[in-house]
């Protein structure tokens, strides 16, 4: 990249099971307001303010066609610029990055909102399934994930205990995260005795229903330095699609993630992620996913992630802490999940992560995932140097 893009401000709401007190726009405004105040920027296209907005939300969850309408008034888009990404919010950041690197925009506001509480998760997810072969089976992302977890356990010998350890670690980490919805002190036994949702996934293996929003401001390198003493740079970013049909995939593999990670690492000059990364924030809607995605991200060989969690490599104080924030398991809405991972990575790199701070973090990885069994993967490498 000829020029770098910097993130100059981030904000998250506290994630909550039901924000019946606000509508979608009001929820988004809570975080937009914060990043505007932090940077002192306003909306204008004279080169001194925010000249574009990329939003991320989804019609199915909002129950409204063209959900940009929910937020456009809050992102300065009256007689201004806005566009909406419908994958996970991390892709909206990627999009904003392209807008800036293209020279077409200078300073871009990115915002993602979601109120899972007001929709039926299972129905929405079922509507993503192929209509002929999969939808009529009544599948949703949870039942599909159960197939993936089973396949992972069968092929690589990952155990339910190892998955439970992820849930224990992340919910405990969440106790240090003021934005987390479900900080908990639980044990592996608690996870394994919680209600079975879709074998082998249990209640504590999966993320709760969650409402929340996340916003950030991205700008060109030179402006970023002026706006903040602690800019965070996007060193690499890439995304990738898998095929849709579960029967066409080996669900124990995650080739799209491998490819996205490879591209992002090569842009950022990362050759040994386990050594070179200081902290990783990974989207794990279910506990097994953290293990599977860790392998896809090349933190270890195939089938070895279980050993990493057993050895405590990914816990706070370990060689590569994964999800100090508590991850999605501690409560993030879909679509916001990946963007929240970037926000958390930014806080780590600014040294502003409070009790969940990884000391001296210089390079961080954020990961976002959209769709059935991780069909669409996005990886972003961030740094503070």
């Amino acid at each position: 990249m000829a020029e770098r893009v910097g993130i100059v401000a981030v904000a998250q709401t506290k994630y909550h099971p039901n924000r019946a007190d606000v509508n979608e726009g009001e929820l988004a405004w809570e975080v937009i307001k914060q990043v505007l105040q932090e940077t002192g920027l306003t909306f204008c296209d004279d080169g001194n303010g925010i000249d574009s907005a990329v939003t991320c939300s989804e019609d199915f969850w909002d129950g409204r066609t063209a959900t940009n309408n929910n937020v456009m008034s809050y992102v300065g888009a009256h007689l201004g610029v806005e566009n909406k990404v419908t994958e996970d919010g991390i892709n909206a950041i990627y999009c904003a990055m392209a807008q800036i690197l293209s020279g077409h925009h200078d300073t871009v506001l990115v915002v993602c909102h979601m109120k899972e509480s007001q929709a039926d998760k299972s129905l929405v997810e079922n509507a993503a399934m192929d209509a002929i072969f999969m939808r009529l089976l009544g599948m949703n992302f949870l039942t599909a994930a159960a197939l993936q977890a089973k396949r992972l356990m069968y092929k690589y010998g990952v155990t339910v205990e190892q998955c439970a350890k992820v849930a224990v670690k992340n919910r405990r980490n969440a106790k240090n995260n003021p934005f987390a919805q479900e900080p908990m002190d639980i044990t592996v036994e608690d996870v394994l005795s919680s209600r079975l949702l879709a074998s082998p996934i249990r209640l504590l293996d999966t993320k709760p229903i969650s409402d929340g929003a996340c916003a950030m401001i991205l700008t060109r390198e030179e402006k970023a330095r002026k706006l903040t003493a602690k800019p965070v740079w996007i060193l690499g970013a890439a995304n990738c699609y898998e095929t849709h049909y579960l029967g066409d995939r080996d669900l124990a593999e995650c080739d799209a993630l491998v490819l996205a990670a490879k591209r992002a690492y090569s842009m950022a000059g990362v050759t040994n992620p386990l050594k070179e990364l200081d902290v990783a924030e990974i989207c794990e809607e279910h506990s097994y996913q953290e293990l599977l995605w860790m392998e896809g991200l090349g933190f270890c060989g195939r089938g070895e992630a279980g050993r990493l969690i057993d050895a405590g490599v990914t816990q706070m104080g370990g060689q590569l802490p994964v999800n100090p924030s508590g991850g999605m398991l501690a409560g993030n809405p879909n679509h916001v999940g990946g963007m929240a991972r970037v926000a958390e990575a930014v806080l780590q790199l600014r040294g502003e992560a409070g009790d969940r701070q990884v000391a001296g973090a210089k390079v961080a990885l954020a990961h976002g995932v959209t769709g059935i069994c991780g069909q669409h993967q996005c990886v972003m490498i961030l740094g503070n140097k």
Partner: protein
């Protein structure tokens, strides 16, 4: 500054009211294959895939995921975007950004909509706010009827003028093999005989619901020159939204409203040194859901003076053979797969710039062309294409 980017291949489906022979993925695949064939590329030569539709119309969540294989996105980067009626243009704009940024050397931009599944007007009724707007929501036709009523009163345009817009659109559509409605209309009277939907909008004053998809392959300068002898350069893209809570985002009886179209045109012309649009631009494809909207767009885009749009159509200036051709393809009035409609405008202008529009190639030599998009509460996007930069 970003890299120069050109359109190197375009493709569209033959638009129809119903496509029971294909599912959504297969239909979109037709446009993708057509665009790749036009660029003489294989799917593996395209580095990223961007697509978009309005997903509540078909009732498919994450539709890009279901069709990843058919659109060449398998093991490829890309994403789906959605921006109401402007979606096709928004997808194109972001693909353009990614290539201009140097993140990809080539990319596919795809717009699609399969109107024979789901219910577009029911979905459209949820565009407005659930508290203030939904009780009065009526889909698209009533909005454009209100706008047409105000326009009639303010400009003195007659229903005959609206009928002339349909005649022009139909003449274009009959010469465009991809167009949906090809009616072979002979006279204004035939249009005026069609029944009112909402006064003054008649059945033939309004766009149809079409099934279709459109795709464009774009490439960075160095690649573009290798791929084609006729690259169409993307000079600029402008996006301007308008507030949904304004009482009259489409038609304002008070005359005080600032319209996104005016702002968009002003920005585009200023940035690109266009002082006399009818001279500096050689043809336009505008997004006109109704006959009336086309006449209003002439005015908003400064193709003529305020309240004189109907005179352009009366004098035949915007005909295919006219001095300033608009919607030679038949436009949205003839063909409206919503998620693809703005992409159709871009692709049709690209064909005009290349001189490859076939029977509906305009008489004027097209070096510069503009494509517009319209969506939601009167949002506008403009894309400026050129034969050389």
């Amino acid at each position: 500054m970003g890299h120069r980017v050109a359109i190197v291949g375009v493709g569209q489906t033959h638009h129809r009211a119903k496509r029971p022979d294909v599912n959504m993925a297969e239909m979109v695949g037709e446009a993708v294959r057509a665009a790749l064939a036009d660029a003489q590329l294989r799917a593996k030569n395209v580095e990223a895939v961007f697509c978009g539709n309005m997903e509540t119309f078909e009732g498919v969540y994450l539709p890009d995921h279901g069709m990843a294989d058919e659109i060449g996105a398998f093991m490829r980067p890309g994403m789906k975007l959605a921006s109401a009626g402007t979606t096709g243009s928004a997808v194109f704009a972001e693909a353009f950004n990614f290539v201009a940024a140097g993140l990809f050397r080539t990319a596919l931009a795809i717009g699609f909509q399969k109107h024979d599944v789901g219910s577009a007007q029911a979905a459209l009724a949820t565009t407005v706010t659930p508290i203030w707007g939904r009780g009065a929501s009526s889909g698209a036709i009533a909005e454009f009827a209100q706008q047409a009523q105000i326009y009639m009163r303010q400009s003195g345009a007659k229903e005959e003028h609206a009928a002339m817009v349909r005649l022009k659109a139909d003449r274009g559509a009959c010469r465009n093999p991809y167009a949906h409605l090809r009616l072979g209309l002979k006279s204004v009277d035939e249009v005026l005989k069609s029944g009112y939907l909402v006064w003054p909008i008649r059945l033939l004053d309004f766009c149809p619901q079409s099934c279709g998809a459109t795709a464009a392959v774009i490439a960075v300068e160095e690649e573009a020159k290798k791929i084609t002898r006729k690259p169409v350069w993307i000079a600029d893209v402008v996006t301007v939204h308008q507030e949904p809570f304004r009482a009259s985002s489409f038609g304002d009886p008070t005359g005080r409203e600032t319209y996104s179209q005016d702002v968009a045109a002003e920005r585009l012309y200023k940035r690109n040194g266009i002082t006399d649009p009818r001279k500096d631009i050689d043809c336009a494809e505008v997004y006109e859901p109704s006959n009336w909207e086309e006449m209003m767009l002439y005015e908003h885009f400064h193709f003529c003076e305020k309240h004189k749009g109907w005179q352009l159509i009366e004098k035949g200036i915007t005909e295919i053979e006219g001095e300033f051709p608009v919607n030679a393809s038949g436009g949205v009035l003839a063909t409206n797969p919503i998620g693809a409609s703005p992409m159709n405008r871009i692709v049709e202008t690209a064909l005009q710039v290349r001189g490859d529009a076939g029977e509906h190639q305009v008489t004027r030599d097209v070096k510069t062309a503009v494509a517009s998009a319209l969506g939601s509460s009167n949002w506008t996007m403009l894309t400026l294409l050129k034969r050389s930069l």
